[in-house]
């Protein structure tokens, strides 16, 4: 694990020094800072990608850096940077009727939820901040923090639209945790482990070793997981909490500037996390899709990132293709379709495991 | 002989030749009647040619009354109007005010609700849709509420008018008969201040609730300010 490596490395470098606690703190902090920088950079790229992909679907060009003076670079590459600079230094409004402490707290909680999940995502055999033996369980648990933040944001804004957004999102995220969990249970049954690395280890040997192709029940589990993941990250067709044409901007209606940027960023961070879990659990994690092609540990980050990017691209693609569901249809889909199918899936996989031995 | 007279004679001759001799006989002016009859005789003998068929233009109508210039539509509407009037007179004898029913029927406001109910339910008329309801400020302190009715089933129209004085601008509401009248009447109230009795929700619809005056009355004066914002007619009043 990264923390251990840094700790050992520091110990070796300064072998005479005795303050091991300081090394430990540094060893813990360094990956965190790394994660933060990574999320920020990834957020910029993801926003740019969303702008460009949506523009492509819409027959547009998207940001082209056309403008006056110091424009946004070639092909508008600097557009997200400009957005970030602007948002950070915009006036921070706290409505006088808002519940002040909760209002301030909400963006941080949602960001923490997305940020802390990153420590358990494996990018390579050794490129993981903390290889917990309950990694996948940890991510699912921490991921639910978002719902608290969204309810807080919706409630504390003292705005009816925000309240509706928070209310919808509470129902939505809590419900969709279940199908997502059930479809991951299937994976855990197969690998008999909750550790992310061990799940990846189970899927060695190229594309056909992936859990997705392990048995006929797995594609169903993957589809359920992916759709539930869309719902958990509030993406279209499940973007009810912030549906623009209904609730103005949902739970972020009252947020401006920096705080809004946090919500914005954590949406993309959450997309990354759920895609990473999907890749880990179903698509072979950081391993190459071909047994003997670029399958070294050096390429693992590349494979992981490209698989995640693919899933994120699909999410953006879906967002700009389909309309939005209604609240009751959303619940119907979750409780009456996904959960029964998911449970049946668990049953099926259990029999499969017994039969196959 | 004036030109006008000649035209009248031509018209009568045409009518007579078409078999309507009563029209000739019924004419009051003896001179005209005689000339027309002699002309008909001559035409029938083949001495004279038949006068050209000519429509009477509105300015030349003897009484100077309003006549619409719609061609086919006109005939159709006339007949509907006449039909409505005939039936209306049977049912509500004293409610019609005007005598010419070419373009519209003028009603008294008192029994309007009953008449409207009847107009919608009467199977031969069956005016199931209120096309348009509008208010108008006619001169002499009179406000008028006009209704254009249409029947989807029979595809015919009729226009009804109800006049009230400004001081007592009250007309029964027909909101319950044609639901669309709800908003139409609110709009007329908003613009002209005609009060519709029995309307469930008579508020201003387009202008703000605290607006002053009735904008479509001819003597409307704009208010000076609204919530501190100047409402000037010309830009001179600014700054």
């Amino acid at each position: 694990m990264t923390v251990d490596y840094i700790f050992e490395g520091l110990n070796q470098m300064f072998s005479g020094f005795t303050g091991n606690e300081i090394f430990l703190i540094i060893a813990i902090l360094l990956p965190c800072v790394g994660c933060f920088i990574f999320i920020a950079l990834y957020g910029l790229v993801a926003i740019y990608a969303e702008l460009k992909v949506s523009s492509f679907i819409h027959d547009k060009t998207g940001p082209m850096g056309q403008g006056v003076g110091l424009h946004a670079g070639k092909w508008g590459l600097l557009q997200p940077v400009a957005d970030a600079i602007k948002l950070i230094l915009k006036e921070d409004i706290i409505p006088s009727s808002a519940d002040r402490p909760l209002y301030i707290l909400a963006p941080f909680i949602i960001f923490i939820g997305a940020f802390v999940s990153f420590v358990a995502i494996p990018f390579g055999e050794k490129v993981i901040v903390a290889d917990m033996n309950i990694g996948i369980f940890y991510i699912l648990g921490i991921g639910s923090l978002a719902v608290i933040a969204i309810i807080l944001a919706g409630w504390s804004s003292n705005n009816k639209w925000a309240l509706y957004g928070g209310m919808r999102s509470a129902a939505q995220i809590v419900s969709y945790e279940i199908p997502a969990g059930i479809s991951l249970v299937v994976v855990i049954m197969l690998t008999s482990s909750l550790s992310m690395q061990e799940i990846i280890g189970y899927q060695s040997g190229g594309m056909f070793g992936w859990i997705l192709f392990d048995n006929p029940f797995m594609p169903i589990a993957f589809v359920i997981y992916f759709i539930s993941a869309l719902a958990e990250t509030n993406r279209t067709p499940f973007d009810l909490p912030e549906s623009e044409s209904e609730l103005v901007a949902g739970f972020v209606t009252e947020y401006s500037g920096m705080r809004y940027a946090f919500f914005f960023l954590s949406e993309y961070a959450n997309m990354f996390v759920v895609s990473a879990v999907a890749v880990t659990a179903f698509l072979g994690g950081w391993q190459s899709p071909f047994p003997n092609f670029l399958n070294t540990s050096g390429w693992s980050v590349f494979w992981m990132m490209s698989k995640i990017s693919l899933l994120i691209f699909v999410m953006i693609w879906i967002r700009f293709t389909v309309p939005r569901l209604r609240v009751d249809q959303l619940m119907h889909l979750c409780w009456k379709v996904f959960i029964p199918i998911g449970l049946f899936n668990v049953f099926g996989v259990a029999i499969w495991i017994i039969v196959r031995g | 002989m004036t030109e006008n007279q000649q035209k009248l004679i031509d018209e009568l001759v045409n009518k007579g030749l078409d078999g309507d001799m009563d029209a000739v006989n019924a004419h009051q002016d003896r001179m005209v009647r005689a000339k027309a009859k002699s002309m008909i005789m001559k035409i029938q003998k083949g001495i004279l040619k038949r006068p050209p068929l000519k429509k009477i233009s509105p300015e030349e109508v003897p009484n100077g009354d309003i006549v619409q210039n719609q061609e086919k539509k006109e005939n159709k509407q006339e007949s509907t109007s006449a039909k409505v009037v005939r039936k209306l007179l049977e049912k509500f004898p004293n409610e019609i005010e005007n005598e010419e029913f070419d373009s519209h029927i003028q009603l008294k406001p008192d029994k309007w609700f009953e008449i409207a109910t009847w107009l919608k339910s009467e199977p031969e008329l069956f005016f199931d849709s209120l096309q348009c309801q509008m208010g108008i400020d006619v001169q002499d302190d009179i406000l008028e509420s006009r209704y254009n009715l249409h029947s989807m089933k029979h595809n015919h129209y009729v226009e009804l008018r109800i006049a009230v004085s400004r001081s007592n601008a009250k007309i029964p509401s027909v909101e319950k008969i044609w639901r669309v009248a709800d908003w139409f009447e609110r709009e007329t109230y908003d613009m002209l201040g005609i009060e519709y009795i029995g309307h469930s929700d008579l508020r201003r619809i387009l202008l703000p609730d605290d607006w002053e005056g009735w904008p479509l009355r001819k003597d409307y004066q704009e208010q000076e300010t609204y919530h501190g914002i100047i409402v000037p007619k010309m830009k001179e009043g600014w700054e």
Binding site: L51, T61, P63 | -
Partner: protein, 163 residues
Amino acid sequence: MGLFTNKFQDNIIVEKLDKLLSWGRSTSPWFFQFGTACCAIEMMAAAASRHDLKRIGMIPRSSPRQADVMIVAGTVTMKMAIRVKKLYEQMADPKYVVAMGSCATSGGPYWQHGYHVLKGVDLVIPVDVYVPGCPPRPESLIEGLLKLQEQILEERPLTRKMA
């Protein structure tokens, strides 16, 4: 942001920061979808495929809190004027207003007999750029927005203002 506004002496670092800041602001002016009348359709056309406001970094937002530029597209009536003012006050600083079309600039064709029409949105809120036309073509709207960007680019938000 209010903490730092116009609080610094003019020096080389502040100048560079100022430039970076105003670059950020001018490059990503998110606009507030505030269509009232005919001009709103042209604003939509400007944001849609052919003209594409995203090219110059403008993204529509429907909440006033997150928008930087308010494009008042169309006639503002007396009934609406109070709301326009409220919406403007809800926007976070720095905020800019573009009056699109002759109605928003001066009352347009309704200037004479329009008893219920506000004769120019500048009577209730400050306007940065006026775009004339009835309605202005998307090209002229884009021209106006580029002018606004130029204006923002020249701002020096951090530097202390001369007394």
